[in-house]
């Protein structure tokens, strides 16, 4: 076993059949922004990848022209994670497509326990049109509840197919099950990779862009802060933990008051991670943070206030 130099960020994608996982995965693979994404299909259902993306197929592994790959992993999580960590070339992002029944929390726990993995979040996609049907089947109720309540990012898909009334009912239901996460309305699985993956590797935050990306700029807003300040770990944890759910993702790097140790911080949903950076790649003792939210929620104001008040 060869340990990785930096942990592999892992995202769990959960949702029922027909909720739009396949479309979303294809969208993310098409907009990978230079990152090598390894998609593991934790399912016995096929995950059809758009043909024009595929460069070659070798057994269970599909290689894409842009450096991404997809791999079917059968039913055994041990084998799947073992294979992902051995995968050559080493991926930048691991995206696990959890089957309709897999408990996303259980899969996410692998990334929290394994030093060579880092949890990037649980993304749950629900179908605005048929979510209520699922919640009425007693055999499925607890599975669906688990998927929604464990999510750090909730995507309400197929919003173009339902009335405003239906959409509001779905949103209320989601809020009942998980009030820490604000659902994002999407159509056809289109969501910026930033939201799903965060921004690049945790320890590599030197190139922060704040410009809007692709055609998502109309609904999403980025916020960034670069500062010479030093931050006390626990105080920052408090500040970031109390950010409202309208801040969909928050991450950054900072130096603590002794100025010798550097840390990365990452928040998605209610999940906050602080990890020490062993060998910071940035020489100057500065800190920087970036966040993403919905434009309508004016996250910049919230964040400016939070960082002025506490620090």
């Amino acid at each position: 076993m060869t340990p990785r130099e930096t942990p592999l960020p892992m995202t769990v994608l959960s949702g029922f059949l027909g909720s739009g996982k396949t479309t979303l995965v294809n969208y993310l693979l098409r907009h990978n922004e230079g990152q090598k994404i390894l998609v593991l299909v934790n399912d016995f259902g096929a995950l059809p990848i758009d043909e024009d993306l595929i460069e070659s197929q070798d057994g269970e592994i599909l290689s894409l022209a842009n450096g991404c790959a997809c791999c079917s992993m059968g039913g055994d999580l041990f084998e799947a994670f073992d294979a992902a960590l051995k995968f050559e070339p080493a991926p930048d992002q691991l995206l696990i497509e959890a089957s309709g029944v897999a408990e996303p929390r259980r899969i996410a726990n692998f990334a929290r326990a394994e030093p060579d993995l880092q949890l990037n979040g649980i993304v749950t996609i629900v179908d605005a049109a048929n979510m209520e049907d699922g919640l009425q089947d007693p055999r499925l109720l607890d599975v669906m509840k688990e998927q929604i309540s464990s999510a750090h990012i909730l995507l309400l898909n197929k919003c173009d197919l339902v009335s405003q009334v239906q959409k509001n009912r779905a949103r209320n239901k989601l809020k009942d099950l998980n009030d820490e996460v604000k659902p994002i309305d999407i159509n056809h699985g289109r969501v910026p990779p930033d939201i799903i993956f965060g921004k690049g590797k945790a320890a590599d935050m030197t190139a922060i862009e704040t410009k809007s990306q692709h055609n998502h700029g109309d609904i999403f807003d980025h916020w960034a802060l670069k500062s010479q300040k030093l931050f006390e770990k626990h105080a920052l944890w408090e500040t970031v933990s109390s950010l409202p759910s309208t801040v969909l993702r928050f991450k950054g790097i900072f130096r603590s008051p002794d100025a010798t140790t550097a840390w990365s911080i990452h928040k998605v949903g209610a999940h906050v991670d602080i990890a020490r950076i062993e060998e910071p790649s940035f020489a100057e003792p500065y800190s920087e943070f970036v966040a993403i939210g919905l434009k309508e929620d004016k996250i910049s104001e919230v964040l400016e206030a939070a960082f002025q008040k506490d620090q």
Binding site: M1, F16, L17, F44, G45, A46, S72, G74, G75, D76, L77, F78, E79, F81, D82, L85, G100, V101, E103, R105, R106, I107, N109, F110, R112, A113, E114, P115, R139, L140, D142, V143
Partner: protein, 543 residues
């Protein structure tokens, strides 16, 4: 023309109602030519009379309908279970009855290891050693620098020492589910579920799936079977890649390999259509001693792990409902596709909600396309109620009941998991008989030890570890239990025309017993001694 051999026995229990008992059996070309008295057999011409079994009892070779090849390979680790077990080479491992005995055994094993080898043990069961939990301090006393991992009997937990914890960087409370924290606020060495165990297993090279794949494991598995009179055994889940099929074919075709092996394809490891195509293709690779083509579908988890899907009113202790490994709607589709294609299904269902979902899926499939040529089997089927047995009868579905659970986990089911009402009707053999459901009973080895006569004892006595009788009504007779572990199991494997009874034309596969199970007291059935087996007329005395 090849010769005819006649075995003379003290008694042959045939499982053939036309001729329940015989003293002689004639064998030609590995098959049973005739059974009866010496005079009755004389008409078949010259024969060699073999009297080596004249003071022994012959039965049809036992058929284990649900176990795993890992039952052989697991013995490369040190056994630290509570009950006595026998390893493939016949070494008797007394159960370790206290934490002190566990540590003593670990120290002995540790002393024999090379400098770089980790110490891995298996079979540990804290349910039986409740005085206190095993923790890292205990194991640190065995070795402070060699990594140690003690895998619990359910394979869902392990306890490790500080050297192992350090390897995975488990040195502080990281708030991760499954990494148990001790009073001092640091991990105490107990790791629960695969996510928390994975970093250790990966670093110590413990790969449970590999345990069932290697040549030595498959050979050891044959020894495990031979020791308990089993001549046909079903490995109840396997990914069956080509290279493994080639290896299994080569090993089983050797004359010295003592069993007929069936291996069921994992139906959830690839998309539905691929499962169907692969199962049909595998069926063509079957030989006399390796049978392929059936599939395994895992629907829920286990009752003792609180992961079975159970109906109202849920768990006795209020634990939340268990997990689906496949959603009911997807199960409906999978079952229909496989049934249409003529693929036999073994469907793992522990809880009654999972049983209901499987029966609904089979009902949909059979209403469309009855396929009376196929016998689908509910595996474990532990919580089925009588209405579900009636439905199995209507649909022609078989059951393989987990009788060993009554002994090993019965007390826990009564007190903790599902409560008295449902625990007393678990693994309901009498209900299966009442409604004419073809059934067998199994060990799920290595989850519980393989030994069909012990499994039969469980079904006859329904006695738990503490001595409680779990449901008087569901007890069956010794003869019914003996049929379940021979012809019953053969039927669930669609091999009842080849094995399972001593009848003309069937394979000359026998269990050779030192005692007569029909004469011994029913409560001593498990103590019947096994001499070994005969496979296709060849003797395999247990070494």
């Amino acid at each position: 023309m090849s010769g005819t051999t006649v075995f003379k026995a003290k008694k042959i229990i045939t499982m053939n109602p036309v001729q329940p008992e015989a003293t002689h059996v004639a064998i030609r070309d590995g098959r049973i030519l005739a059974a009866g008295t010496e005079q009755e057999l004389a008409g078949w011409g010259d024969h060699n009379l073999d009297t080596s079994f004249e003071d022994k009892i012959l039965m049809p070779g036992f058929v284990e309908g649900h176990c795993h090849l890992m039952a052989g390979g697991i013995w490369q680790f040190t056994y630290v279970g509570y009950q006595d077990r026998i390893d493939p080479d016949g070494k008797h491992w007394p159960g370790v009855k206290s934490l002190e005995e566990v540590l003593e055994r670990l120290k002995e094993a540790e002393a024999k290891l090379g400098p770089e080898e980790p110490l891995v043990a298996w079979g540990f069961d804290p349910i039986f050693l409740m005085a206190r939990r095993l923790d890292k301090n205990d194991l640190d006393a065995v070795s402070s620098d060699r990594p140690i991992a003690v895998v619990h009997s359910n394979f869902h937990l392990m306890t490790v020492n500080s050297a192992s914890l350090k390897l995975a960087n488990y040195v502080a409370d990281m708030g991760v589910d499954g990494i148990a924290i001790g009073e001092d606020g640091t991990p105490n060495g107990e790791l629960q579920e695969m996510a928390a165990m994975f970093p250790i297993m990966r670093r110590l090279g413990i790969n449970l799936r590999e345990l069932g794949r290697s040549r030595s494991s498959i050979i050891d598995f044959g020894k495990v079977c031979n020791r308990v009179g089993v001549t046909t055994a079903a490995d109840l889940i396997n990914d069956l890649p080509d290279e493994d099929v080639a290896e299994m074919t080569s090993i089983t075709s050797e004359d010295s390999y003592p069993i007929r092996l069936l291996s069921m394809l994992n139906a959830l490891a690839q998309p539905v259509d691929e499962t169907r195509d692969r199962a049909l293709e595998l069926a063509h690779h079957s030989t006399d001693k390796l049978r392929l083509g059936g599939v395994k579908i895992v629907t829920d988890g286990s009752i003792q792990g609180f992961t079975a899907r159970i109906r109202w009113p849920g768990h006795f202790n209020g634990a939340p409902n268990g997990i689906w490994n496949i959603l009911p709607d997807q199960l409906n589709e999978l079952v229909s596709v496989l049934n249409d294609a003529g693929v036999q299904m073994h469907i793992h269902t522990n809880g009654d909600e999972a049983i209901e979902a499987a029966l609904d899926a089979l009902e949909i499939a059979k209403a469309k396309n009855n396929r009376p040529d196929l016998r689908h089997v509910l595996q474990h089927c532990q919580m089925a109620d009588r209405a579900q047995f009636r439905k199995m009868n209507r649909l022609g579905v078989c059951a393989n009941l987990f009788a060993n659970h009554l002994y090993y986990f019965g007390d826990k089911h009564y007190e903790l998991t599902i409560g008295p009402d449902r625990a007393t009707r678990m693994d309901a053999c009498q209900s299966a008989l009442d409604f004419g459901v073809t059934f067998t009973i199994h060990s799920d080895a290595p989850v519980t030890p393989m030994a069909p006569l012990f499994t039969a004892w469980c079904a006859v006595n329904r006695q738990t570890e503490s001595g409680r009788v779990l449901g008087e009504y569901e007890k069956i007779t010794v003869d019914e239990a003996l049929e379940a572990i021979t012809l019953g199991a053969a039927s669930t494997l669609q091999m009842d025309h080849e094995v399972g009874s001593v009848e003309v034309g069937k394979w000359a596969d026998f269990a050779v017993l030192e005692d007569d199970p029909q004469k011994i007291a029913p409560e001593s059935l498990k103590d019947v001694k096994v001499w070994g087996t005969v496979l296709a007329g060849e003797k395999f005395q247990t070494p």
